[in-house]
């Protein structure tokens, strides 16, 4: 697919990439559900991450690509700001911002995706679940790390405290993305980044692109912080249920270790993210409060859309993937 893109990019340059992007944006009913726009944005970000083979590093600051990226980002951000509803904002005071975020993300008691995974998901559905998660989790923590040099003082120290843990606390084998790679291998899936790019729907790429857009635009550093807070605050409890689902299906610690690790880790991270990161940032840079709240609400909105899509596909007896998995299951061993 990347090879094909390489060829297509050259053709598109001749056809004026900017015009192609402009017409794709104008013709999209919903940017978050548009396969072409989300894939394009994903690949444009991949040039910055270096996460996919075949995307030359020299492309990173190509002005034509940057212009196209900005055009898609503008439409994506505008659509998101139109979709979300932000509850009555708190004062830019540490405790109040943390409480607001914890209220926003409070468990609802609704039996959603995590309960389905815990109690009912088949082995095939568990594999699909991992495939859909792999877009973010094989690069876990990276999108938020773009914000590190864009923050100062308390907020920077808090973000580093979380990210240091995400990156294994000095032990490469404990890097969360590496633990997730072990989970993928344990169920017979490939741990190569992007192996299942064609299988995932636009909204899964949109969840990842949201984080990359926030991270790579300094203007949106508040949104990165709010996103991370909401992400961490909705992680511990679902991860216990995900682990339960894989245990029920007979998988051992090699597979469930990732989820168990996150029950413990994210119970720490959510406290730091809510109070020391988001709360402190709002206090220190009150003009960022609105984006902190937007980032949190946007995180939940896209995760809900992606989660409900997955759940309703499975409840209807269908695959949650865009295309079926390759016949061999993509096993690397």
């Amino acid at each position: 697919m990347i090879d094909a893109l390489g060829g297509r990019v050259e053709q598109m340059w001749e056809a004026d990439l900017d015009a192609v992007v402009e017409s794709a944006v104008a013709g999209a009913d919903a940017v978050i559900h548009d396969d072409d726009l989300q894939l394009a944005l994903f690949l444009l970000y991949a040039v910055h991450y270096g996460s996919l083979p075949g995307l030359d590093a020299d492309l990173e600051w190509d002005p034509v690509l940057l212009t196209g990226r900005a055009r898609i980002e503008a439409a994506f951000e505008e659509e998101l700001r139109g979709i979300v509803t932000i509850p009555e904002p708190p004062e830019p005071v540490q405790d109040e911002v943390a409480s607001w975020l914890f209220r926003l993300t409070a468990p609802t008691g609704k039996k959603g995706l995590s309960h389905f995974v815990a109690r009912k998901a088949s082995v095939e559905q568990l594999q699909e679940f991992l495939v859909l998660r792999s877009i973010y989790t094989l690069r876990e923590a990276d999108p938020h790390s773009w914000a590190i040099p864009r923050l100062t003082g308390r907020a920077k120290a808090a973000l580093m405290e979380i990210q240091f843990d995400e990156y294994g606390s000095g032990d490469a084998s404990r890097i969360h993305a590496a633990i997730f790679a072990q989970t993928l291998r344990g169920v017979g899936l490939s741990d190569a980044y992007g192996a299942y790019l064609d299988q995932v729907p636009a909204v899964t790429l949109a969840s990842q692109n949201l984080m990359s857009m926030f991270g790579l635009n300094r203007r949106l550093r508040g949104a990165t912080v709010g996103h991370l807070a909401a992400f961490e605050m909705t992680s511990s409890i679902p991860n216990r249920l995900y682990g339960d689902g894989f245990r029920r299906a007979g998988f051992d610690e090699d597979v469930t270790g990732y989820f168990d690790e996150h029950v413990e880790a994210d119970a720490v991270h959510e406290q730091i993210a809510g109070r020391d990161l988001a709360g402190a940032l709002a206090e220190d840079e009150p003009e960022l409060l609105g984006d902190i709240l937007f980032g949190a609400v946007a995180c939940l909105a896209l995760d809900d859309i992606a989660g409900e899509r997955m759940l309703s596909a499975w409840q209807g007896g269908e695959s949650a993937l865009r295309l079926p998995l390759p016949a061999a299951g993509g096993a690397t061993r």
Partner: protein, 70 residues
């Protein structure tokens, strides 16, 4: 350069309606004095009593509606 920083004294922060977060130079031991293993430098200790992974916090206080007095 080494990975280890000079030891800093343990610092325990009570997070509102949440766990006790421990940083610095600490060791957590069980009732027999056996160290409870952890790979992380900052840990959260259960304060509400309902965690399934005690002594660590697992976020369940948010379901039970635990409130701290402060």
């Amino acid at each position: 350069m080494t990975m280890r920083e000079p030891a800093s004294p343990a610092r325990i922060t009570a997070y509102p309606d949440g766990p006790l977060v421990v940083r610095g130079d600490f060791e957590i031991v069980d009732e027999q004095g056996v160290p409870v293993e952890t790979s992380r430098r900052t840990v959260a200790l259960c304060r509400c009593g309902v965690s399934a992974i005690k002594p660590w916090c697992d976020g369940t206080h948010k379901i039970t509606g635990f409130h701290s007095d402060r």
